[in-house]
Amino acid sequence: MTISAQSSADEGGWPLLRSERVWGSWRLAIALVTASAATWCYLVGEVVGHYLKFIQGGVALTAGTMIGMVLVILSAGPTCVRFGIESIASIKPQFGSRGWVIPAAFQYISIVAWNALLLIFFAKSMTQLLTAIGWLPANGPRIVPFTTAFACAIVYIVLLWGARGVTRISSVLVLHVLAGLWMLYMLVSRRWPELIAAQAALAHSDRLWNYTTGVEIGISACLTWWCYMGAMIRMAPSGRVITMPVMLGMSVPVFVLSLIGIAGVLILKVSDPSSWLLTVGGPLYGVIALSFVAAGNFGTAMVGIYATAAGLRNFRGLQTMPWSVLLLVAIMPIAFVGTLAPEWVFEHYGTLVAFAGVGFAPIAGIQIADYYVLRRRRVDIRAIYDRRAAGKYFYWAGVNPAAVVAMIAGCATYIYLLNPLTYESHGPFRFLTASLPAVVVAASVFVALTILFIVPAKRGAYELGSPLN
């Protein structure tokens, strides 16, 4: 396989052949760690730190992230790694040859919003850094919009290399995780008594509710990785190669860096290290750490924009668009939001965390139930790329109504159990979380509707792998 053909497949959204998938476990782990370790971890930690003390918050968050990752790897993992496709292509057997736009919309909105946020964080860190080294006056001009635009330009240039760009840059940026560990050590070693004694500011009177909320936040945060999963693991050749990197590479950085956020909000009342690094660490360490914090956000945003561009290839009108133009389509909304409304985005990040759980928990449930229960692992790669009305995954008008209804049922379950904006809960949330019931309800509704309506109507090619036959 020539490099140009592989590059075209990478940028063209085609399935990658096994011979082209050259990432081993370490290569994949480095890319995933680079993708997952960023300022959003501090924000996740901040939310948990509002309800739980340091140790219990860390344990709850760790458990939640591991549960979230198992849902992600079981949903998008098998189809993506077998056929070398990204997450959106892998959802077509369930949602249909046109219905995939529903999860694609979730993916696009989620990635655009998160990455706009990350690039704004990058810009803020850069501003702090320039101020710390004296290149910018303390009360100087607001340069965040300009720094955000600059970051978008750098990401664009790097991603012109496609996945090779991700490979090259992640080899360097992964080092910022070490800076995160150092920040955690600094906070824990210098403020341990204060940290242990600190009380969560918004803790509920119900201890179980606080604890379950910590687990739920971990699950929701990691469900976001569904968007990124396929674009990364399709570069690896087998399930065995991806398992450890995905389970550890995308969850360990989240909960380790989230501990910094928990510690920050408990004792300093602010989770973003760029706000307290100079105070706690002093000028020298502060400048070094700020550099790594900025770099971490840059790496994550880069992987996110790459995943967005790869996913956009599924739109018919964008299939033949040059990679350079497609990247612009992916990056322009991020640049637009990041430069024109940075403060508004910054103030509404909590909504983004909530959005992830509501949207991706039902998607995970539907995909897992379809792959393991209904299709018994049989997926037709040709049908994934077949848009004709006679195609196996065309269903009705290209949409599988069972998936749509199951998605609605899963979202409704989540919102009923935990209002993602106010964190007001109902029913069995304190025992079950909101994401897990949403997964189970969406999966159950999907299986029931498929058995009752889709299989008898001979849609979706279930007769090939259905346990009913």
Binding site: A5, S8, A9, G12, W14, P15, L16, L17, R18, S19, R21, I55, Q56, V59, A60, T62, A63, G64, M66, I67, M69, V70, I73, L74, G77, P78, V81, R82, F83, G84, Y211, V215, A236, P237, S238, G239, R240, T243, M244, M247, L248, R316, G317, Q319, T320, R377, I381, R382, Y385, D386, R387, R388, A390
Partner: protein, 99 residues
Amino acid sequence: MAYASSLSGFKDGSLQGDSARLDEEAFCFIYRSRDNVPEPTHRGSGRMNDSSSRELERRIVALESQSETGDDFDAVSWWWIIGLGIVLPLGLIVLGWFV
């Protein structure tokens, strides 16, 4: 079948650069039937579409033959998935409650 004969050509490269007949066959065997060949989506870039379709088809055929398909999770993978994704979190949840 048309797509079967074309496949050997694509594999050994002998059909590269052939004419409209090739393009038509390549396009046909994506859709399995000449009766259902759709109109090109982008009329202004038909050459690019045909080229893309041929490459996509080559990949699909290779994946269908299982020769270029990645492996699903094996027993070792499942061991780690269950251990790290179910057993460990359950243990942590119980442990964390008593902290």
